[in-house]
């Protein structure tokens, strides 16, 4: 309860700072040595916070039967969430498989892990404009490649990393005596995986899954924006940025939408944790 009030106060403080600077800051922003360090305070650059909220009630376009911005953003959020979920699922499968492979063999770990880390320095999102062309021209087993797949692939690419690394740490988390015990029982590696390593990895896995959900959402939005896929938040970011001249508060709507999608995705994964409660007990004596 206290945390809730404090959190609310935090958001209010942020709003107050924004409005205060807007009220007292110079129109052209603050420039130090030729570099702009504080923003301009014009209506265009810094719309009032209530303007940002008002936009949600406006019609999204000039058409007479246009939906409100809120409806459009919600629809786009649903679209983005769906693609992100697909990307997340792919990431979970790939990440877990890699983690199990690396936990199984030391050689596999030393061969693969550097590449897994390296993979995150590759701006796959930067490749999005290149991937866009796949849409019309690639066919996989009679299935025509859709732009949505490209977006999901990019989301999965960002999301598999925390899962692979987190799951590997989790799978290697059992203490030596527990591993020795399984060895003493003479049971195979797969039984050890099922009875010891997988359950032990749950706490690590849950936080990895949550990180992956955020990554999947981020990847989806950015890939939508750079591929230009219609229907999702990413595309709205671009569209509404272009209409900033008419209504400077409008570009903020999809940003709030993106935050909402991210929080929902994280929340859903957190719910998963409730079902796995028994596996999150920490051993007292260890």
């Amino acid at each position: 309860m206290r945390a809730l009030v404090a959190g609310l106060l935090g958001v209010l403080a942020l709003v107050a700072t924004w409005e205060l600077y807007r009220a007292v800051g110079p129109e052209a922003g603050v420039t130090v040595g030729g570099t702009v360090v504080l923003p301009r305070t014009s209506d265009l650059a810094m719309p009032h916070v209530w303007e940002m909220l008002r936009v949600f009630g406006e019609p999204a376009s000039g058409a007479s039967d246009a939906d409100s911005v809120l409806v459009v953003v919600l629809g786009a959020a649903g679209f983005t969430l769906r693609i992100a979920a697909v990307g997340w699922l792919v990431a979970v499968v790939v990440g877990l498989a890699l983690a199990v492979l690396m936990a199984r063999s030391g050689l596999a770990e030393s061969a693969i892990l550097p590449w897994v880390i390296l993979s995150q320095t590759v701006p796959l999102i930067a490749i999005a404009p290149l991937v866009r062309r796949w849409g019309s021209q690639l066919e996989v087993g009679g299935l025509e490649w859709q732009n949505e797949y490209s977006v999901a692939v990019i989301a999965a690419y960002l999301a598999f990393f925390p899962i692979a690394v987190g799951a590997l740490r989790g799978l290697k988390s059992p203490v030596a005596s527990q591993v020795d015990l399984m060895h003493a029982y003479g049971v195979g590696w797969w039984t050890t995986l099922r009875t010891l390593r997988l359950p032990s990895s749950v706490p690590y896995l849950l936080s990895a899954l949550r990180l992956a959900a955020a990554s999947a959402v981020i990847g989806t939005v950015v890939a939508e924006a750079s591929i230009g896929l219609r229907g999702g938040i990413g595309r709205l970011v671009i569209e509404y940025a272009q209409s900033a001249g008419g209504d400077p508060a409008k570009p903020w709507a999809p940003i709030f939408g993106a935050v909402a999608v991210g929080l929902v995705a994280g929340g859903v994964v957190a719910l998963l944790g409730l079902f796995l409660k028994p596996y999150r007990r920490q051993e007292v004596l260890s």
Binding site: S177, Q178, L181, Y185, G186, V187, T191, T195, E283, L285
Partner: protein
Amino acid sequence: MSAGTHAVEVAGVSRVFDTKKGPVVALDDVDLTVAAGEFVSLIGPSGCGKSTLLRLIADLDQPTSGTIAVRGKGPRQARLDREYGIAFQQAGLLPWRTVAANIELPLQVHGVAKGARRARAAELLELIGLTDFADHHPDQLSGGMQQRVAIARALAESPKLLLMDEPFGALDEITRERMQNELVRIAAETGAAVVFVTHSIPEAVFLSDRVVVMSPRPGRITGVVDCQLGSSSSRTDAVRDEAGFFHAVAAVREHLHGTAPVAVRGVETR
């Protein structure tokens, strides 16, 4: 007693570890025989190879040279045939399983049917006096209770040999003595031979039929002390105050320190 009935036979066993700073001899030409039903403690300072020896017997590690027989079989075969139960300094209970489910773990991985598992776990809970805690989780138990559960788990498949690596090492002295009393009783009730690794001289003397004293660099057996403090039923806390107990303690100490300090020799010569 024929060789086949011995719980453990170790003959000329050495274990050399390759480290970055060159080879380290953890065990050098060790011979040891543990009879069926016998309680033997391994004692010595850190690095004397007592835990290594236990791990070799359990087939958690392999000797560089020499042979080991566990109940007449090679260690690997003995492990696969579940000839021994094992407990470590860390209870190593699985935190997501209840106390009963932890005791059932070895039975479960070996495919014992659910009903039989339940029954056996109930028996063992009775033996360690934790019947009321069957559905608790390890984090709700004290350290001593956790270690009792670990011992019950080691006994689950009714092994004729128990291997214990400093199982009471992390417990406070008071809990520790109570656990020792219980272990004496449990060992007698099950008739299992025990190989028990410890740092504590009184613990080794109180528990054991024989105490094997080891020294480090390289790990060797430097002496064996017969304790024989009476049958398990008569071995209660009172034994800790008897002269025989102190004599055995002094004897072990003498082996440990090589040339015994004057005070200890005084005890030894009465």
